[in-house]
Each structure stands twice: as structure tokens, then as C-alpha cells.
């Protein structure tokens, strides 16, 4: 590791430490009321003793009056805000210690969501590229498709997702497809925008040059526009895959799906299992980071092979 890489590593670690510390501190006021109720039931003396008085008091005041209860705010069964180590332990137990086939394995649920994400991403990317090619080559499509593409993204996906699922279910399509459709719906847009910009990136001089060769439109596309659009495409893909994951999770929420990270979130909120919710959230975040990182790796390899990265 070189010097600047070393520095960056410590900087990231410092930021992480600050976040974790803040998180632990935040757990104390967030959980203090619940903890005090539990402690009271267990026979401890809490200030003030009446539950009604405690309800009207600020969390900060409760913490100051009952500092003995602070460690317990990090160890509750169903805390409002679970402490980092609780989430970490839950994640460890539901990934490494569970069999992948188990219904409680996060890897199993992650895989269910991932497969819908990837399928939706593939559909969305394909659709996005096709639309972009059409928009760049046809003025009619430019005027007609682009406004609709923009409008499509202004509709809250959470409102639209149940409709998509209901409509597809009524024509006999269920399972992974409806989720993938929602993923595709979210991921096609950045691809369209990025590809249109990329396909239009060659300047007037480069287009003139092809004209002096009497090149056809398709030659212009394959030899100039498409390769020129590659850096733009990869930037869009990285946004698209993250949007795709969000789409797949949202697609799992309204159906009462039994599998997937969305289902884990939903089940967790039904039963007040905040630790489960947080660990599903982190699983989703880690999954997104891996997907974006993977695309970044592919981007670097491809652009390097094309000679566009130095």
C-alpha cells in the first residue's frame, strides 16, 4: 500500500469509528424508556417510578436520572434502535451460522432479491440502450419518448409497485418476473439518460470526419457513437444497478412475499424485530456496494482494454 492509500485507509476508518460511536450514543436516549420499563418490572428502582411521569419526561432527563440503566440500552431484545454489535451478531448468525437453504438465512433471502435485481437490471439496461439508440437516431422518438421516460420516474415507485404486481398477477405472471419488472422500471432511466448523452458525445468535427469518408449511419454508430458512449454507459450502469436493487426490495414489500430482503424487512416490522430489520438493511447495502464495485471493476477492465483508461 502506498502512502496516500494508507492515509485514505485511516481516514475511512476514522469516519467509521465516529459513526459507530455516534450510533452507540444515540442508542441510549432511543431505548431508555423501554429499558426502564423492563428494569422496573425486574424490581429495580427507577426515577421517576411512575410510568406516566416517565412518558412525559425527556429522554435526556431519564438518562441522567437513571445512568445505571445505560449499558442495558445496548442489550435489549427488541430495542427501538439496536446497537451496532447486536446487528453484527445477528448478521453473523444469519449468514455464516445458518445453512444457506434455511428460511432464516440472510444469504438465502439475499439471493432471492439478487436474482430479481439482476434480471430486472438486464431488462432495464437492454431497454434503456434500445430507447437511447432510438432517441439519438429519430427526432420523433426524441420528442415523444424522452418526456415519458422522465414522467415515469416522477411516480413514486412505492405507489406503482402494487399495481404492477396486481396487473401481472391477473394475467398469470408471478414470482420473480413482477419484481424484475419493477427493477427494470427503475433501472432503465439512468441508462437512457447516460446513453443518450454518450451517443451524442462525439463532437461536430468527428461527425464531419465520417462525412468526408462518406460513412453510412450504421458505420457512424458502430465505429464512433457506440464506443464513444462506453464511459457514459458504465456510469449509468452503476446508478442503474443500485436502483434495480431498490426496485426488487420494493417489489417484495406489497405482496407479503415470504422470501427476499424486502420480505425480511416486512416480517421484522410486523413483529417489532428491529435487529432483523437493521441486519436486512445492512445486507441490502452490502449487496449494493458489491454490485456497484463489481461494475466498477468491469468498467476499469473494459475501458483499459479499449485504451480509454490510462
Amino acid at each position: 500500500m502506498n502512502r496516500s492509500g494508507f492515509k485514505a485507509f485511516w481516514a475511512v476508518l476514522a469516519v467509521l469509528a465516529v459513526i459507530v460511536a455516534f450510533w452507540y450514543v444515540a442508542c441510549v436516549p432511543m431505548n431508555i424508556k423501554g429499558v426502564l420499563t423492563e428494569q422496573e418490572r425486574a424490581g429495580a428502582e427507577v426515577q421517576p417510578p411512575s410510568a406516566k411521569d416517565r412518558r412525559d419526561m425527556s429522554e435526556l432527563g431519564l438518562v441522567l436520572n437513571n445512568s445505571f440503566a445505560i449499558p442495558a440500552t445496548w442489550e435489549q431484545d427488541r430495542p427501538r434502535l439496536p446497537a451496532p454489535h447486536q446487528v453484527a451478531i445477528e448478521m453473523w448468525e444469519t449468514t455464516v451460522l445458518k445453512k444457506i437453504t434455511s428460511k432464516r438465512s440472510l444469504i438465502y433471502h439475499g439471493w432471492v432479491t439478487l436474482s430479481a435485481t439482476v434480471l430486472g437490471f438486464a431488462i432495464g439496461t437492454g431497454l434503456g440502450i434500445l430507447l437511447a439508440v432510438g432517441i439519438v437516431h429519430s427526432r420523433v422518438m426524441d420528442m415523444s419518448v424522452m418526456p415519458w421516460a422522465i414522467v415515469s420516474q416522477t411516480i413514486p415507485i412505492i405507489a406503482l409497485a402494487p399495481m404492477i404486481i396486481v396487473v401481472l398477477y391477473s394475467v398469470g405472471i408471478q414470482g420473480i418476473i413482477p419484481k424484475a419488472v419493477i427493477s427494470a422500471y427503475l433501472s432503465f432511466f439512468p441508462v437512457v439518460v447516460g446513453m443518450v448523452k454518450g451517443l451524442r458525445s462525439p463532437d461536430a468535427m468527428q461527425l464531419d470526419l465520417l462525412r468526408t469518408y462518406n460513412a453510412s449511419r450504421s458505420q457512424g454508430f458502430w465505429k464512433l457513437r457506440l464506443p464513444a458512449s462506453m464511459p457514459y454507459l458504465f456510469t449509468s450502469l452503476k446508478i442503474g444497478i443500485a436502483a434495480s436493487l431498490v426496485g426488487a426490495i420494493v417489489g417484495e414489500l406489497p405482496t407479503g412475499a415470504v422470501a427476499g430482503l424486502g420480505a425480511r424487512l416486512l416480517a421484522g416490522s410486523y413483529y417489532g424485530q428491529t435487529v432483523q430489520i437493521w441486519s436486512a438493511l445492512f445486507a441490502a447495502a452490502i449487496l449494493a456496494a458489491c454490485l456497484v464495485g463489481l461494475l466498477g471493476l468491469i468498467e476499469r477492465t473494459v475501458l483499459k482494454r479499449m485504451g480509454m483508461a490510462q
Binding site: 468535427m205 468527428q206 464531419d208 470526419l209 465520417l210 462525412r211 468526408t212 469518408y213 462518406n214 460513412a215 458505420q219 465505429k223 464512433l224 464506443p227 464513444a228 462506453m230 479499449m306 485504451g307 480509454m308 490510462q310
Partner: protein, 264 residues
């Protein structure tokens, strides 16, 4: 075809007019331009910006369409000539594709025109040698200096058999030392290939050093104010620029440019 071209000028413009319609009203880019370029000429177009020198070159290349007058290239309309790939065009920027190596960049017109793979290889080798870039075929553009990139773009314009080479301020962005060197090489290349060259510049020494014919232009409206047939010999070492003949031609060009400005 050779006998035909000696009988007929390569490029002939008669009463050429071009008016651009812009938001600020019409702009008279070219007015009453008459010019004949013979085979093997090296013609420079010089003048201040807005004088229409680049516009005229673009008309020859059928990248702009004149609004009046006649213009023939190899006895055809400019657009027919373009479709027959009658000319190679070198722009101010090298405009090499960053995702292609130098060889692959030079192959671009050859691929488009459907040359066979072996023919492509052969031609790339030949033109790389012409512009003194042997051994750089496998490099990417960013690995080359600005002057080398511009030479590669000239090689690209030479790769197919166009007997006209149109160059729009090809060395404008380069420093003077590199420029002198490239000017010398360009003359040698012209002597070897016997192409007809149209060359836009705003440097008086460059125009005088390179050309057999210097076209002095002035702006608003863009027009030709003087056409000078150079008395300099075809063999031109760099120090020809210190001879009285050279200085006299340069003086006449400067006078022409000044005249174009005074009657504004």
C-alpha cells in the same frame, strides 16, 4: 484520368456565394469567390478569422453548401466528389479515436471504404512511414505528443487514394518549433505524393513557405483580395525564409491582408 485532370482544373469556383442564416440575421460568409486550383498545386488560404477561408475549404469538401455560384471538384459537384472519396480532410484537432491505436485510427477510413484486411495493413505501413511514425502503430493517441498526433491524422487522410488533401489549420495548435518541422515534412510528403493540397492558415511565413499559390482573403463579407503565384522554387529548405524572394512574397501577403482591413 490524368489527361483529364491536366486539361481540367482540379477545383474551380465561379462567383461562389454563401450566406448563413443566423439568429442575428444573415451572415455573408463568402462573396463572389472565383478561384482555379490546378493539379499538384499547394494552395494556402490566409486571412483573419471570419474571412471565410475555412468555410471555402468546407464547401470544397461538401461540408457546407454554397448558396449561389458554381463549384466543381475533379469536374464533379463537391457532393459527388465527397461520395467518390476524392479528398482527405485534416482538421485543426487531430481527432483520433482514443479507443483505437494509431494503426487502427488510420484503418478507420479504410474499414469504412471496405478495403481488405491485408490491403489495410499494407497501407497503414506505407502512410506511417510517410509521416515518419514507424513503430508507433501500436500506441494509443494519448501516448503520443500533439505533433505526432497531428501527423497520425495526416496519415489517416493519406491512407486512401484521394488525390486532394484539404487541411484546415492543421498545425494551428502546435508550437513554432514543432510547426517548422511539420512544415518541412509536409513539403517532402507533397513532393513524394504529388497531391493537390488546400491549406488554411493564419500564419504568413507558413503560407509563403509551403505554397505555390497564396490566396489572401478578408472578412465581412468573406472574399478573395489577392491571389499570389509564388516565384519560389519547389525545393525549399527552411532557410529559404531569409531570402529576398521569400521576404518579398511575405510582404505582398501582408499588404493584401492590410488592404482587406482598410476598406472596412
Amino acid at each position: 484520368m490524368n489527361t483529364e485532370s491536366t486539361a481540367q482544373p482540379v477545383i474551380e469556383a465561379k462567383q461562389l456565394d454563401l450566406t448563413f442564416q443566423t439568429n442575428d440575421g444573415p451572415v455573408h460568409a463568402l462573396k463572389d469567390v472565383n478561384l482555379t486550383i490546378d493539379k499538384g498545386d499547394f494552395v494556402s488560404f490566409i486571412g483573419p478569422s471570419g474571412c471565410g477561408k475555412t468555410t471555402f475549404l468546407r464547401c470544397i469538401a461538401a461540408l457546407e453548401t454554397p448558396t449561389a455560384g458554381t463549384l466543381t471538384v475533379n469536374g464533379m459537384t463537391p457532393d459527388e466528389a465527397r461520395r467518390n472519396r476524392a479528398y482527405g480532410y485534416v482538421f485543426q484537432a487531430a481527432g483520433l479515436y482514443p479507443w483505437r491505436t494509431i494503426s487502427k485510427n488510420i484503418k478507420l477510413p479504410l474499414e469504412i471504404m471496405g478495403y481488405s484486411a491485408s490491403e489495410q495493413e499494407e497501407r497503414v505501413k506505407k502512410v506511417l512511414e510517410l509521416v515518419d511514425l514507424e513503430g508507433f502503430g501500436g500506441k494509443f493517441p494519448w501516448q503520443l505528443s500533439g505533433g505526432m498526433q497531428q501527423r497520425a491524422s495526416i496519415a489517416r487522410a493519406l491512407a486512401f487514394d484521394a488525390d486532394i488533401l484539404l487541411m484546415d489549420e492543421p498545425f494551428g495548435a502546435l508550437d513554432e518549433i514543432v510547426r517548422d518541422h511539420l512544415n518541412e515534412q509536409l513539403l517532402a510528403l507533397w513532393a513524394r505524393t504529388e497531391k493537390t493540397i488546400g491549406f488554411v492558415t493564419h500564419s504568413i511565413p507558413e503560407a509563403v513557405y509551403l505554397s505555390t499559390k497564396i490566396v489572401v482573403m478578408s472578412p465581412r463579407p468573406g472574399r478573395i483580395t489577392d491571389v499570389i503565384d509564388s516565384p519560389l522554387p519547389k525545393e525549399r529548405p527552411l532557410d529559404i525564409r531569409d531570402t529576398p524572394e521569400f521576404i518579398e512574397v511575405a510582404h505582398r501577403v501582408r499588404e493584401g491582408l492590410r488592404a482587406g482591413h482598410s476598406d472596412e
